[in-house]
Symmetry: C2
Subunit: 258 residues, 2 copies
DNA sequence: TAGTGGTCTAGACCACTTA
DNA sequence: AAGTGGTCTAGACCACTAG
């Protein structure tokens, strides 16, 4: 007969399950995160050394290293060469807000449409010319779009593009009719990098009219500049997002059941 | 005599410099990022297989894997088992805004001060009680702070705390006089995790008065809830940030000289 | 000097995709 | 079946910190 199995192991540490589909490094990340979340490991505490963790989890050094690196990237611990690895206390600065939220919430399931309001050739005003590193008064493309969510105006997009018939950027831009297309792969493959800024603004008359809210309502302004492979700006514009629809979220600290 | 060195090698690929202090994996990340940034590798292109990259950079499989993983995390490439690794096109959804910016810009060098406006025991109103998972009308701590930057009001912080004399949280909170203390290690080591939301708001009369801007001005509202190790909310409040001071930035795509 | 984290190797095995 | 990415091993050497 087999020895009876203890139902409640006394303080036995969790270790990795080699039969699981979850990789060993991910299990170690999860287990250590849980110990931080439940207070077994408190902020300021030193984690066991890599050698000790290796012995506990029965894995090779590289596997432990990988797990620790992930915890460092997540801001849960900090590692100092020669000293040790320590649990960090909660830090608001670790919070990150991702625009990915926007895509996920709006694209999946909900009815979202992009309406092209205007597309015309214009003479670039001083500000737009400056942002596009072009001479003031030179020709550009001006595009206005409205993103509707369940028939409600949600985002108002205005964009200036460098006018260059030799580039397919404009044609590609004009064919965008979905939010996915609007947010990713702008101009297909001709863009290399982009700068984005986000600030809170008061809506002017035109913006308020388009978004169907009172003048002076607050909104998010997401300004963007995209550059081509020669590092020249080719697109500058702003997404004006209704504040009542557009809320960003972030989490800090250790998560359980992630 | 040595053979003359070619000043301009014909299309020779860069490889890793083993004498550099920069780790091999980081050099590989940098080199591949540059090739994406300069268009040598275009969006949609397949990267050389790991075996090929191994041969080019004269490193072991793990080192290549680590470099690729970093490129994936940065959103520059996507890897598919059995198919290959491909250069991604620009995607706004990859943008991340970090609150870390706030600390870096404000703490270093610039004169920043935290002024305690109020700290009192109150009866929690319905909303605060709900957020703190406490009965409406139960006792709580109410704290108001003003963050000044070069003598200009920049952030207005209001916070409700669970009233619990047995916990040192309140005392720790009241002693916060620096922005660093305000943003990290709130309540020392008693907090496990936090939820944050950010939205654009119009300032009410009180907020406008404190921040010395017109009523109805737009502002960022950074709302936070912090939980203890028993997963009970202990702190709920908002940072109201003047829009003209608080601008967040993000970058997407391949960076050179990072 | 002993202990810590940081990097790297040269293989191995597996899962997945495509042909 | 061949090629791809994904994981893991069992060592090694190095840089840094502390007593």
């Amino acid at each position: 007969m087999r020895a009876p199995v203890l139902k409640t192991p006394r303080r036995e540490s969790k270790t990795v399950d080699r039969t699981s589909y979850e990789p060993a490094y991910a299990q170690i990340v999860r287990i250590l995160s849980e110990e931080i979340a439940t207070g077994i490991l408190h902020p300021g505490d030193q984690l066991p050394s890599e050698a000790q963790l290796r012995a506990r989890f029965f894995v090779s050094p590289m596997t432990i290293r990988r797990a620790i690196n992930i915890l460092v990237e997540r801001g849960l611990v900090s590692a100092a060469q020669g000293k040790g690895t320590f649990v960090r206390s909660l830090d608001i600065g670790e919070a990150v807000f991702r625009l990915q939220e926007l895509k996920e919430h709006w694209i999946n399931g909900d009815e979202t449409a992009v309406r092209l309001l205007e597309a015309s050739i214009v003479s670039l005003d001083e500000r737009a010319a400056d942002r596009l590193a072009a001479p003031a008064g030179s020709r550009g493309i001006y595009i206005r779009r409205l993103v509707l969510r369940e028939s409600t105006p949600a985002m108002y997009h205005r964009e200036y593009l460098i006018y260059d018939p030799s580039r397919p950027l404009v044609e590609a831009q004009l064919q965008i009719t979905s939010l996915t297309g609007l947010l990713q792969g702008q101009g297909g493959e001709g863009l290399r990098r982009g700068n984005l800024t986000m600030e809170a603004v008061n809506l002017d008359e035109e913006e308020a009219l388009v978004l169907q809210v009172p003048v002076n309502s607050s909104a998010f302004s997401l300004e963007h500049t995209f550059y081509d492979f020669d590092d020249r700006p080719v697109s500058w514009g702003k997404f004006i997002c209704r504040a009542d629809i557009f809320v960003m979220t972030a989490r800090i600290g250790a998560e359980v059941n992630l």
